[in-house]
C-alpha cells in the first residue's frame, strides 16, 4: 500500500479535513479576483452580486476612457497610466543596471562580502511598507525636494532591488568562471568578456528580475499613497481616488485587465526560471 503525506487509498476523516481546508484556502485566495472577473462583465449599473446579466459594456466604457480626445475620455486616467509606465520603466532600467554588476561581484568574490550585501539588500523586504512610505515622505517634505517623477522611482527601486538582485545572483551562480576565462584567453578584456559572455548567459535571470520589478512597481500602492502628488499620480492611486466613495464597474474592468497582465507576466517568469524553483 502506498502511504504518503496524504493517504492515497483510505484516510477517512483525516483526508476529508485536509482537502476541505485546502479547498477553503484556495477559495479565499482566489475569491476576490473571481468576483472582479464576473462583475466586470455585468450588464447592470450597480455592483450587486451576482450580476443579473452579462455584457461587455464596462470594457467599452473603459476603452472610451482611454481614448484620447473622445467624448468620455479621462485625461487624468491617461496621465496616471503614463506615469505608472514611466515609473516602472525607470525602475526596471535602474534596478537591472545596478544589480547585474553587483550580482557579478557577489558571486565571484563570495564569502563575507556576499552574506553582508545580501542581508543589506534584503532589508527593504522586511521593512514595513507604511513606515517606508512616511519615511520617504518626511525626507522629501522636510528637505523640500523637487523630485518630480523621482518621488516614486527612488522608493520603488529600493522595493524591487531584493527581487532583481536575487534573480541576478541566481543566474550568475550558474555561470562557470572558466567561460569568462575562456573568453579572456581568446583575447577579450574582462569588460568585454562580461558583455559578450556573462550578460547573455544571465539574461533569463535578468528578465525574470525585471518582470518582478514591473509587477511590483506597477501595482505598488502603500508607498505611492504617501508619495503621490497632483502632478505625479499612478494608476492604482487614480483608481483609489475614483473609488473611495463608491465602486464603478468600469474600474473593475480596468482591474481585471491588470490582473490578466500580471498573470501573463507571472507565467512568463515561471517559464524563464523553469526548473529553478525561485518564484519566492
Amino acid at each position: 500500500m502506498r502511504v504518503g503525506i496524504i493517504p492515497q487509498q483510505s484516510g477517512g476523516s483525516y483526508k476529508f479535513t485536509i482537502y476541505l481546508l485546502a479547498s477553503l484556502g484556495l477559495l479565499i485566495a482566489t475569491l476576490p479576483v473571481i468576483i472582479i472577473a464576473l462583475m466586470s462583465f455585468s450588464a447592470a449599473e450597480t455592483t450587486s452580486f451576482p450580476p443579473q446579466a452579462y455584457s461587455l459594456r464596462w470594457y467599452i466604457k473603459m476603452f472610451e476612457l482611454f481614448q484620447p480626445n473622445g467624448e468620455n475620455s479621462d485625461a487624468s486616467l491617461q496621465i496616471a497610466l503614463l506615469t505608472s509606465l514611466k515609473v516602472a520603466a525607470l525602475v526596471m532600467l535602474i534596478a537591472s543596471v545596478v544589480c547585474v554588476p553587483l550580482a557579478y561581484v557577489l558571486v565571484r568574490s563570495g564569502g563575507r562580502l556576499k552574506n553582508g550585501m545580501e542581508l543589506l539588500f534584503t532589508l527593504p523586504l522586511v521593512f514595513p511598507l507604511v513606515i517606508l512610505g512616511i519615511a520617504f515622505l518626511l525626507i522629501a517634505e522636510s528637505l523640500d525636494l523637487e523630485l518630480g517623477i523621482w518621488r516614486l522611482v527612488i522608493p520603488h527601486v529600493a522595493l524591487v532591488l531584493p527581487f532583481v538582485l536575487r534573480n541576478c545572483v541566481g543566474a550568475m551562480s550558474s555561470i562557470d568562471i572558466e567561460l569568462e576565462q575562456a573568453a579572456i584567453s581568446l583575447g577579450a578584456s574582462p569588460l568585454r568578456a562580461g558583455v559578450d559572455i556573462v550578460v547573455p548567459l544571465m539574461k533569463p535571470g535578468i528578465i525574470a528580475g525585471l518582470v518582478f520589478a514591473l509587477i511590483i512597481s506597477f501595482n505598488e500602492f502603500t508607498i505611492t499613497y504617501f508619495m503621490y502628488t497632483v502632478d505625479v499620480t499612478t494608476l492604482p492611486i487614480w483608481m483609489y481616488s475614483r473609488t473611495v466613495s463608491s465602486l464603478d464597474p468600469s474600474t473593475l474592468a480596468i482591474s481585471f485587465v491588470i490582473v490578466l497582465i500580471d498573470l501573463a507576466l507571472i507565467l512568463l517568469i515561471d517559464k524563464l526560471l523553469a526548473g529553478r524553483n525561485s518564484l519566492l
Binding site: 485536509i18 484556502g25 562580502l113 499613497y225
Partner: protein, 280 residues
C-alpha cells in the same frame, strides 16, 4: 578581483539603496525630535506621548488582528502545502502555485474591490442570507474587524504556504510508513510525525505572516475604513490630519520593533530547534 574593481561594481547598487538607508535613519532620528514638525533637538516626548488611548487601542487592535489572522492562515496553509506537496501532475502543480501566489502578486487595491463587492451591504453574502430568510437587515461585514481579518488572511496566505511547502521536503514516506506500521491512525500520524517535522516551516511562515499583517496598511485602509485603526492607518493619521510627524516616526519605530522582534524571535527559535535536533 581587486578592491577597487569590487567597489566600482558595487557602487551603483549602494547608491540606489542609500535613499532607503537614509529614510530608515531619518525616521529613527525624527522619532527623538523635540519638535513635532521638524527634526530639532533631542527628546523622548514623541515616545512618551504614544501612551494615549488612541495609540494603545490601535496597538491592541493590531496585535489582535495580526494574531488571529496568523492562526487562521496557518490552519489553512498546512493543508494547502500538504496537498501541493503530493500533487503529481506538473500542470496541476503549476496551476495551484499560481492560484496561491495570486494574493501576493496582484494589486491589493484590486483585491479589496473583490471583498467590498462580496461583503458589502448589497454584496453576495448579504443578498443570499436575506433570500434564505436568515436575516432581515444587511449585516455589517465591511468596515469592521471581520472584513479586515478576512482581507489579512487572504493577502498573507501565500507567505505561509511556501515556507511550509519547503518544510514538507523533510518528510519522507518512510517516516509516515514507519508510523503506520506501528499502527498509528492518520490523525495520530499527522500530530506525531507530520506536524513536528513541519515545525520550522510553520514557525517561519507564522512569523512572516504576523510581521506582514501587523504592518498592513492597504487592507485596513480599504476594508476597515475609519473604524478599524490598525497601526499602519494610525500612523497615517498622525501625519495627515494631526501633522504630528515626530509622533508618526515614534509610532513607526514601535511597529518596526514589533515586526523585527517577531521575525528575530522566530529565527532564533528555528535555529535553536534545528541545532538540538541534530544533537539528539
Amino acid at each position: 578581483m581587486s578592491k577597487t574593481k569590487i567597489l566600482l561594481l558595487c557602487f551603483p547598487a549602494l547608491l540606489t539603496i542609500t535613499p532607503f538607508l537614509a529614510a530608515c535613519f531619518f525616521i529613527f532620528r525624527f522619532s527623538f525630535s523635540a519638535n513635532q514638525g521638524a527634526i530639532e533637538g533631542f527628546s523622548f516626548t514623541p515616545y512618551l506621548e504614544l501612551a494615549d488611548p488612541f495609540f494603545i487601542r490601535s496597538l491592541l487592535t493590531t496585535f489582535k488582528l495580526a494574531s488571529f489572522s496568523t492562526v487562521i492562515v496557518i490552519v489553512l496553509a498546512i493543508p494547502l502545502a500538504l496537498v501541493m506537496a503530493t500533487v503529481q501532475k506538473p500542470w496541476l502543480r503549476r496551476l495551484l502555485s499560481v492560484a496561491i501566489l495570486m494574493p501576493m502578486i496582484l494589486n491589493l487595491l484590486i483585491q479589496s474591490y473583490g471583498w467590498i463587492i462580496l461583503l458589502g451591504p448589497t454584496g453576495v453574502l448579504n443578498t443570499s442570507l436575506r433570500e434564505l430568510g436568515l436575516i432581515s437587515r444587511p449585516i455589517m461585514l465591511l468596515f469592521n474587524e471581520s472584513g479586515v481579518l478576512l482581507g489579512l488572511v487572504q493577502t498573507a496566505l501565500p507567505l505561509a504556504v511556501f515556507p511550509i511547502l519547503t518544510a514538507t521536503r523533510n518528510i519522507s514516506e518512510e517516516h509516515i510508513e514507519a508510523a503506520c506500521v506501528n499502527g498509528a491512525s492518520h490523525w495520530r500520524c499527522f500530530f506525531d510525525i507530520t506536524l513536528p517535522l513541519l515545525k520550522p516551516g510553520i514557525i517561519s511562515g507564522a512569523s512572516i505572516v504576523f510581521a506582514y499583517n501587523a504592518s498592513a496598511f492597504a487592507i485596513p485602509l480599504l476594508l476597515g475604513g475609519r473604524r478599524v485603526q490598525m497601526l499602519g492607518v494610525a500612523i497615517r493619521d498622525y501625519i495627515s490630519p494631526l501633522f504630528n510627524w515626530s509622533g508618526a516616526a515614534a509610532a513607526g519605530m514601535v511597529l518596526i520593533a514589533l515586526t523585527i522582534g517577531v521575525l528575530a524571535l522566530a529565527n532564533y527559535l528555528t535555529q535553536r530547534w534545528t541545532v538540538t535536533e541534530y544533537q539528539s
